[in-house]
């Protein structure tokens, strides 16, 4: 199977008054057709910026400094703004975190859906576009879609709004959907539903999905592969089974141990000591070294390169546990 | 890295980042200087009737009068030196504007803070009055008051104060409400400090920044309003010639080409108002949390 997305050595930096913020600092990973990949990291790790970089939605003072993004073998970084616009919402779609803020409050749902279709198909009639939109809404589990479409975003509940966002993403049959924390703002009960539905949807349509989240538990259920991100770099990649059952990078190990359900009753919760370094002031060597219990002098001074541990496993560490 | 500056010097360095605001402040201070020392630095006393002669009237700029003095900006219809008239005019315009501003500030702040503090029917009543008054344009209010009570210096100042107090009240109340819900007020309550003390020592200082912004912008507005009223002949009497009056007097000479009688006081007025507005504008940007990236 070939890759729908191939990212090579991507670097996205923000040039601010206070210094250069290296939000994404040399990451590489691939997504195969129809595959669901999880990009996991805490706040500030650069995972959302990765998503925006792929979409070409990085605003000043940010800039993609170097690297390659190949979508369907097309080099996106060479695309003109018009070409990118053609791609977005079409074969490459994105779902944002907070559905209340992503839908325009003064426009009706049908307006916001139909314009997405018409933006990529100038010849389609409004009626046809309406029908496609309506059917897609039904696909994501919204009942009586024909009436609901005439409503405004604030008349929907949080879970429904997110379903609408998902529907909008699916309107033009994308090859890849980037979902940036799509369930974080939802109630826990709804979360489960939406996760399940998205999984089914992608299976049915063969759409690849990049699920960006800070919640390892969420992505473990849905993804087939996981990339773990820390301070702008990917520290470990592998299949879900491998990462969860046999984490190798000290950070990943710490992450998994921190999940409360891993604890026995009465035991104090596990913490990774220390704090995420400021993105303006990243250390020279490994970004994690000052919190790592495996760290050596080497780690402080030089950045570990990526090691291909196996066909599916990549790890960025000098001292990982085998 | 950089050492922490004290509040005032930090404020000053942030303020001076904007060169335009800095220049405007300097210009405004210069104008204040002129206004205060007008009698001393004026080349002539334009209101000394013994020195003013109708023979000197309507002389263009840079011409000499019979006594050999140069009228740098020309003379008006009665033979008065424009430059001196403008200096005195600045005095009156600025004086009336600033004084009405200060009174309005005091009255408005009092009502605003007390409304926020005591709440209930008192607050509702005051704010209703403020709302209704603010929905009327200032010039209309001023016209109504002057039409009812007549013209004169005190009446004009009263009119200006009545027009402005509502802005101060609304701003003061809004900030006071925010402050009231902050923890330090609760703490002060717990210490059983008297209401008056809480209001003045605690809430008031924190309300100052937005009030200062409103103050500068409102003062500019008051000066503009007074000028308009005097221009229309409805504001200050001719014994207290503000810039507005000078411009009004000069208006009739416009059509015959003696433009300097109207234009120069107009320019002086414009510079005054613009400089205050630029300072106030920058202050507002500085205090606006939403613009901090």
């Amino acid at each position: 199977m070939d890759n729908i997305l191939k990212i090579e050595n991507l670097k996205t930096h923000f040039f601010t008054k206070n210094g250069i913020l290296k939000a994404v600092d040399d990451i590489s990973f691939n997504i195969k057709r129809g595959e669901i990949v999880g990009l996991v990291g805490e706040s500030g790790s650069g995972k959302s910026i990765t998503g925006f970089s792929i979409m070409g939605l990085i605003d000043a003072p940010g800039k993609i400094v170097s690297g390659n993004i190949l979508f369907n073998n097309h080099p996106l970084l060479n695309y003109t703004p018009d070409q990118m616009r053609n791609l977005r919402g079409n074969k490459l779609a994105m779902i944002f975190q907070d559905p209340m803020m992503t839908l325009n409050p003064v426009l009706r749902i049908d307006t916001q859906m139909i314009e997405t279709i018409k933006a990529h198909d100038k010849t389609i009639s409004v009626r046809n576009a309406f029908e496609i939109a309506r059917d897609t809404l039904g696909l994501v589990g919204i009942s009586s879609p024909e009436e609901r479409m005439k409503a405004y975003p604030h008349q929907f509940s949080g879970g429904m709004r997110q379903r609408v966002s998902i529907a909008i993403a699916m309107l033009n049959k994308p090859d890849l959907i980037i979902a940036d924390e799509p369930t974080t703002a939802l109630d826990v009960t709804i979360q489960g539903q939406v996760i399940y539905e998205m999984q089914e949807l992608c299976k049915k349509t063969g759409t690849a999905l990049l699920w960006i989240t800070h919640d390892l538990a969420v992505v473990a259920g849905i993804a087939s592969r996981i990339c773990v991100m820390y301070a702008g770099r990917i520290v470990e990649q592998g299949s879900v089974k491998e990462i969860i059952n046999n984490p190798m990078h000290p950070y990943t190990i710490g992450l998994i141990k921190s999940v409360p359900s891993q604890n026995k009753r009465g035991e104090p919760l596990h913490q990774i000591e220390g704090m995420v370094p400021s993105m303006l002031n990243l250390p020279d060597g490994c970004a994690f070294h000052d919190r790592c219990n495996q760290a050596t002098n080497n780690c402080k001074n030089s950045r570990p390169l990526e090691t291909n541990f196996s066909k599916t496993r990549v790890i960025r560490c000098f001292n990982f546990e085998r | 890295m950089s050492n922490e500056k004290t509040g005032l010097s930090k404020f000053w360095s942030e303020f001076t980042e904007n060169k335009i605001a800095l220049i405007s402040l300097l210009i405004f201070l210069f104008i204040v200087f002129v206004a205060i020392f007008a009698p001393i630095i004026s080349p002539t006393d334009p209101y000394d009737l013994s020195k003013v002669s109708i023979m000197d009237s309507r002389l263009p700029p840079l011409s000499e009068n019979f006594a050999g003095q140069t009228f740098v900006l020309g003379s008006d219809g009665a033979g008065r030196d424009m430059l001196s008239a403008i200096f005195y005019g600045l005095r009156v315009s600025l004086g009336v504007g600033v004084m009405s501003g200060i009174f309005a500030l005091i009255i408005g702040t009092f009502f605003g803070i007390s409304a926020a503090f005591f709440g209930g029917k008192y607050e509702t009543f005051i704010m209703r009055v403020v709302d209704i008054q603010l929905s009327f344009p200032s010039i209309l209010m001023a016209l109504i008051i002057l039409a009812a009570f007549g013209k004169g210096v005190e009446k004009t100042i009263i009119a200006l104060v009545l027009v402005q107090w509502a802005y101060y009240a609304r701003t003061a109340r809004a900030t006071a409400l925010v402050e009231r819900s902050k923890e330090y007020v609760e703490a002060a309550h717990c210490l059983a400090l008297g209401n008056k003390k809480i209001m003045f020592k605690h809430i008031l200082p924190n309300c100052m920044p937005p009030l200062i912004v409103v103050g500068t912008l409102q003062t500019a507005h008051a000066i503009s309003l007074e000028a308009t009223l005097s221009f229309l002949g409805l504001g200050l009497p001719i014994t207290e010639p503000s810039l507005g009056l000078l411009i009004g007097n000069g208006f009739e000479y416009m059509h015959t080409g003696d433009f300097w009688i109207s234009i120069f006081p107009g320019v002086a007025l414009l510079i005054t108002i613009v400089s205050i507005n630029l300072v106030g504008d920058h202050l507002r940007d500085m205090f606006n949390p939403r613009l901090k990236r």
């Binding site: 053609n86 977005r88 003064v106 426009l107 314009e115 | 108002i273």
Partner: protein, 324 residues
Amino acid sequence: MTAFLLKRSTQSLLVLFIMSLLVFSGVNLVGDPVEMLINPEADQEDVERVIRELGLDRPITEQYWFFLVNAFKGDLGTSFVFGEPALKLIIQRMPATLELAFFSLFISIIFALPLGIYAGLKPESKISKLIMAGSILGFSMPTFWVGIIFIMIFAVHLGWLPSTGRGEIGTFMGIHSSLFTLDGLSHIFLPALNLALFKLSSIVRLTRAGTREIIHQDYIKFARAKGLSENRVINTHLLKNILIPIVTVVGLEFGSLIAFSTVTETIFAWPGMGKLIIDSIYNLDRPVIVAYLMIIVFFFVFLNLIVDILYTILDPRVRIQGSK
């Protein structure tokens, strides 16, 4: 929606009532009503007759009742200067003022919206800085001063446009207005521009501030993520959101346009209500002043109502709550 309208209309009537009370007490309790409403040249016999006619010797509550009744009948007093009903004088001059105000509003919105949006989208560009500098100048310069400058440059110096009076009136679709003749346009242009300048500057600043806020909202980013053209993003997504606060401000400030027309009309000798009220204040023509006040109050209340209605039309969040 109808429940909302009803509620707002009743509120408006209440305000109108209170204002009439204020105007009435202002005239009768503050000043000397005899002096206010009776021509100072009248002799003692006439004065007494008029006092009886106007019911000024009756208790104050009865007087107020008469005042209301007369107001309903459309009688708000007779002008000293013109000897005609004050209301009639004002109504005669209203079209000229409304014409000026509407045209000014039109000019300010047409120019201010695009300028403001541009300045908001590209705040660092030279043009934006120029626009902002211009806007500060625009609302700093007192209206009367700008008027004088206009007259000086365009009428006296260049002689391009006339400086006084209203032009010929043309008819279009049953409306009489001087906007429909070339001569009329040449006469209205300077005063309208003069009146519009202040409004234009504040709308530009408002639009710019709104644009800067909205452009960073998530829904704008999402619209771009959908691949919509930049035109669509600005002209639909941005514009509809920005119009809400602007309409509110513009609507309420339309009243100030009417108020400031007093100055513009005086300078350009434009025969509208504004000039009438200024002249009346000079001449102490009190009935006209009272009548003008009542009409202005009525107008303002009405205006507030319209703005509220417009607001609900533009912002669906308010509309749907209001009908519950």
